[in-house]
């Protein structure tokens, strides 16, 4: 055996670079280009474009009261789009979100009416039920490892059937009884469905809640441990688990957050219309998911924001109301949504490819 190879000890110490040293292989792109690369900025520009378009097309929209209607419409989608977006960043879906809203409203309404108790009792029980549904969805997904698409499709069908059947069974009707004369109704209405005056324009309180929840979600997502975990479980579940992130806890609580959102919108529906139609809510879950995707959340998880879905929901509300104010056939609404969704998905795809390019 020849000893041509160096048999000495391995030379180990890596060069200790000075604190100012740069590796010089990355150049910073111009600020404008970097901003455009952010999905939230893309959807913001999209929202502005839609706004400008309808302001020109529908002159009546320029009034304050019309804008308040647009914002109200956006808020009812937006409040649900937020938890749906967080869940999507965490790598999961919830197809039951739409009917879960109605389940929550039905529960609060029928419980209060049938037992003749203060509506707050019904509200509280509905909250517990909504959180339980969320927990069930999450638990099934993490325990079985099945795609959340399948699990929540099951929950969606179950809830849809239960909503109709139980309502028929209890009230003998497809809608619940009017609860507007019950104890605590006015109080609850103040919280979930009141309006307030801003310079002569009536603004719904849901708009405020929407913005408060959006701010809270943004803070949680970007500034807390839990937010870090959301990105991690959506981005790479196995890596996250390997470094000690509680994946099961994070996923289940995300589903429960969707349950909370469903409860909130359910209560809003109940206290603004006094009764609940048991067959509603079907199809809404796709609107929430679409708002989140338009808002720049990655369908496969791991990327997104809370502010993006705010603009996504605004675009929905804008198009929805804009078509009405412009005097067009409202049937065009869904076609518009489809175009917006496809556009957003293409932008997302491009952003992801740019971000992971070597």
């Amino acid at each position: 055996m020849s000893m041509t190879q160096q048999a000495g000890p391995a030379v180990g110490t890596p060069p200790a670079p000075g604190p100012r040293e740069k590796d010089g292989r990355t150049t910073r792109r111009p600020l404008a280009l970097r901003l455009l690369g952010r999905p939230e900025v893309g959807v913001f520009l999209g929202a502005v474009a839609v706004l400008v378009f309808f302001l020109i097309a529908a002159p009546t929209l320029r009034q304050g009261s019309s804008m308040a209607t647009v914002l109200y419409q956006s808020s009812t989608i937006g409040i649900m789009a937020l938890p749906v977006a967080l869940l999507m960043i965490g790598g999961e879906f919830d197809l039951s979100a739409g009917v879960a809203v109605i389940t929550s409203a039905l529960t609060a309404s029928m419980l209060s009416f049938q037992l003749t108790v203060n509506v707050w009792t019904g509200v509280l029980v509905a909250l517990l039920l909504s959180l339980a549904i969320g927990w069930f969805n999450g638990w099934m997904v993490v325990r079985t490892g099945l795609p959340s698409f399948l699990v929540t499709l099951g929950t969606f069908l179950i809830l849809q059937g239960v909503n109709l059947a139980v309502t028929k069974l209890v009230t003998g009707n497809v809608a619940t009884d009017d609860i507007s004369d019950m104890d605590g109704f006015d109080q609850a209405r103040k919280v979930f469905a009141s309006s307030f005056d801003v310079g002569g324009v009536q603004v719904k309180i849901t708009v405020v809640w929407w913005l408060v929840f959006a701010a809270l979600a943004t803070w949680v997502l970007l500034r807390t441990k839990y937010g870090n975990w959301i990105f991690a479980v959506g981005g790479n579940k196995d890596s996250a688990r390997a470094v000690g992130v509680p994946v099961t806890f994070t996923k289940i609580t995300l589903f429960m957050t969707v349950g909370f959102g469903a409860w909130f919108i359910g209560m809003h529906n109940l206290f603004s219309f006094n009764t609940v139609q048991s067959g509603e809510g079907v199809g809404q879950e796709l609107i929430y998911i679409a708002a989140a995707v338009i808002g720049g959340c990655l369908l496969t998880g791991g990327a997104g924001s809370a502010i993006g879905p705010v603009f996504g929901a605004f675009m929905f509300g804008m198009v929805n109301q804009g078509i009405v104010f412009a005097g067009w056939n409202p049937d065009w609404f869904k076609a518009f949504l489809g175009v917006m969704l496809l556009g957003a998905v293409l932008i997302n795809l491009w952003v992801q490819r740019t971000a992971t390019r070597r």
């Binding site: 055996m1 020849s2 000893m3 041509t4 190879q5 048999a7 000890p9 391995a10 030379v11 180990g12 110490t13 890596p14 060069p15 200790a16 670079p17 604190p19 040293e21 740069k22 590796d23 010089g24 292989r25 990355t26 910073r28 803070w219 500034r223 807390t224 441990k225 937010g227 870090n228 990105f231 991690a232 981005g235 790479n236 196995d238 890596s239 996250a240 390997a242 470094v243 000690g244 992130v245 990655l298 791991g302 990327a303 992801q352 971000a355 992971t356 390019r357 070597r358």
Partner: protein
Amino acid sequence: MTNDDTHGAILADDSVPGSADGALVELRGAGKSYGNIRALHGVDLTVHPGRVTCVLGDNGAGKSTLIKIVSGLHQHTEGEFLVDGEPVRFSTPREALDRGIATVYQDLATVPLMPVWRNFFLGSEMTKGPWPVRRLDIARMKRTADEELRNMGIVLDDLDQPIGTLSGGQRQSVAIARAVYFGARVLILDEPTAALGVKQSGVVLKYIAAARDRGLGVIFITHNPHHAYMVGDHFSVLRLGTLELSAARSDVSLEELTNHMAGGAELAALKHELAQVRGVDTEGLPEEADLTAPTATPSAPKATTAAPTATGSEGTA
């Protein structure tokens, strides 16, 4: 098994708590059976602080089983597993982590779309403030991540870039730096250079040496004897679940190591057998020395080791 030759790294490990000879992790006749399949049998392995223990072996030799026992994913079914001289039996990777045994997996290290600094602290985030408003201490995390990476000789322009934009070697290095920072005393590296190019492998080897110089015990799993020989202090070669070679750096040359890795001993036996069989022209077969001759550069070791290994396994079948 215990070799006290102080070549390679400086041993400043007298203060480290452990067994009489200062071993952080020790396997004594350890083995693992899955049902009636014996994946690992009678393996001795010692990890000392400030030393790199290389575990080499072909595919299916039992390397993965060995790491899984030490990192807490599986439990051994025979022999002893000691940490700091006391017998242990881990049921989760978390328990191993709590004893300071960190594993850096080849593909399980990072979340690609998250920024470098978030990846660095993932699962052990720094926070500030009381509970309802407890929040990430972003400034401190970025500063610490930057310092730690620089201490390991890793310089990145922008810690906010998604870690997926880094090269494979850089990502591996960040994972190593992270394990070192979070108090790992034993670092298990599962084929860290397997998917990397020449330069990137060099980068990772440099950080292995840096981790060693910080006093960590390193278990370096690889099937590349050239990479192993550059940083290793002790070499254990596994073959078919048992220890074929266990030698200190001073007792083995790269040629011998390559020979063992490539199945050179088996090849020689095979050639001898073939010589007994009429009609086989053994003159045309390569000599053992040719089979195991060191390659000019460590850059193309795969080609030289892979081919004879394949022949060797055919011979044993």
